[in-house]
């Protein structure tokens, strides 16, 4: 057990980055994942405890331009209430409807949800089908340095990301979806609220002249990380959304989804459910 020697709640990003430069800081915003993980002992504190919540430049949604930017400390409630995002990226707002409870949505941040890197994280599938990237910052040679990586390269395993210990996730960004972009999100659990997904699926594509283009399909809780379902995507790309295409996409799920048995569901059940969900989501798009 490590003694926490410093608590920091800076107002500027550079102050926070200087604090994480030695890689010995536990970073949080709402604390909704950190608190239970440290209470139960699955996660240990580092020497410094760093709250990002007061850093104004890490909050807020910029939705005016070609690139949509959601600051890391933006809460799930703020995304849920954003009329701009409801118009630009309804698939993301839809996912917030199924996210925990209002009390948790009011505290939890999108950056924290991504950095927690749960295979079942609710923000991951919709952001993956939006083609999102994460912005990572660090303090080097007296300045703030940033880099971007695609979200799908960010997730390395349960609780593991490509973020270096000295880095902070500062924002999630994605290109404004084209006007004919169609998105869907579906998640399953025994009850509608406060549920960690048994499986989840997100779909995004546009339909041009009756054919699916730019298809992205993402899945949660069927592998060590949230993932892009490349085989399902290949079965759909350039095809008309008819019964044969849907059947091929459903058949392809077994190539992408490699679930495990755990306390929430068996691998068999997850494999079955993800097929049902892919079929339902595609039928829903087809009908509308």
């Amino acid at each position: 057990m490590q003694e926490i020697t410093t608590y920091l709640a800076p107002r500027r990003l550079d102050e926070a980055l200087r604090a994480t430069a030695d890689g010995d800081a536990t970073v949080f915003c709402g604390g909704t994942d950190l608190a239970p993980q440290t209470e139960s002992g699955v996660r240990q504190y580092k020497a410094k405890l760093l709250s990002l919540r007061r850093i104004e430049e890490l909050g807020g949604i910029e939705a005016e331009g070609h690139e949509i930017r959601i600051g890391a400390t933006t809460t799930i409630s703020e995304i849920r209430r954003s009329s701009a995002l409801a118009e630009i990226a309804p698939v993301l707002v839809e996912a917030t409807e199924h996210f925990a409870s209002e009390q948790i949505r009011n505290a939890a941040s999108v950056g924290g949800n991504l950095c927690n890197a749960s295979p079942a994280g609710d923000m991951s599938p919709p952001l993956l089908v939006l083609g999102a990237a994460v912005e990572l910052a660090c303090w080097r040679e007296g300045a703030v340095r940033t880099r971007r990586i695609p979200l799908e390269e960010f997730f390395l395993g349960p609780g593991k990301t490509a973020k270096l210990p000295e880095e902070l996730l500062t924002a999630v960004v994605f290109e404004r979806p084209v006007v004919d972009f169609v998105g869907r999100f579906r998640k399953s659990g025994p009850r509608p609220a406060l549920e960690i997904s048994t499986v989840s699926v997100a779909f995004g594509a546009r339909i041009a002249n009756g054919l699916l283009r730019g298809v992205r399909v993402a899945m949660g809780a069927v592998a060590p990380t949230p993932l892009r379902a490349r085989h399902v995507e290949a079965a759909l790309e350039g095809k008309p959304l008819d019964a044969a295409t849907i059947a091929a996409a459903v058949a392809a799920t077994t190539e992408d989804a490699k679930p495990i048995d755990d306390v929430r569901a068996s691998a068999w059940y997850r494999s079955h459910l993800i097929q049902v969900f892919v079929e339902e989501v595609l039928n829903d798009v087809r009908r509308n």
Partner: protein, 163 residues
């Protein structure tokens, strides 16, 4: 485990408070064990049940998940802060009038969340109340009267018909 203590200052139920708390202490433990406000209940301790719901800067959160240090500079309201000099808050009164209580352990959290919902949507429907109270679990399963109480306040607020 040892952890550094930090001085925090915040507004609690309308009054300024100042105290030193360990960095890992949760707001719930601070309220109950340091400040003697035991209306906010400890139940699951992991954000599943809502018994510890408090209002921070106008939004409800689970105080079992909130770090006490994060209260610094903010405005915190607990169930003890709802009552006015004139008497019980209308939501509290509605819970009394409708017998929206069984063992009572979830009641403070239910009332805090119901008050928050009604403040943001004074004439909400029963369906909206259900969605908004999803994060509050009643172990006795006494949900019907809670929803009746919330609806009664919505009716008093000028709601036209039952939703």
């Amino acid at each position: 485990m040892m952890s550094v203590e930090t001085e925090i200052n915040f507004k609690l139920n309308g009054r300024e408070v100042s105290l030193r708390v360990p960095a890992t202490m949760k707001a719930l433990a601070m309220l109950r064990d340091r400040l003697g406000l035991t209306g906010t209940k400890y139940a699951c301790g992991e954000g599943e049940c809502g018994a510890c719901t408090i209002n921070v800067d106008g939004k409800t959160v689970n105080s079992c998940l909130m770090y006490a240090v994060d209260c610094d500079g903010r405005e915190v309201v607990t169930v003890e802060g709802l009552r006015t000099p004139e008497g019980l808050h209308p939501v509290q009164q509605a819970f009394v009038d409708h017998g929206a209580i069984q063992c009572g352990f979830c009641t403070p959290g239910m009332i805090m969340q119901a008050q928050h919902l009604l403040e943001n949507n004074p004439t909400l429907t029963r369906e909206e109340a259900k969605r908004g109270l999803e994060g509050n679990i009643c172990r006795c399963t006494g949900y019907t009267k809670v929803l009746d109480a919330v609806e009664a306040v919505a009716d008093k607020n000028g709601r036209c018909s039952h939703g």
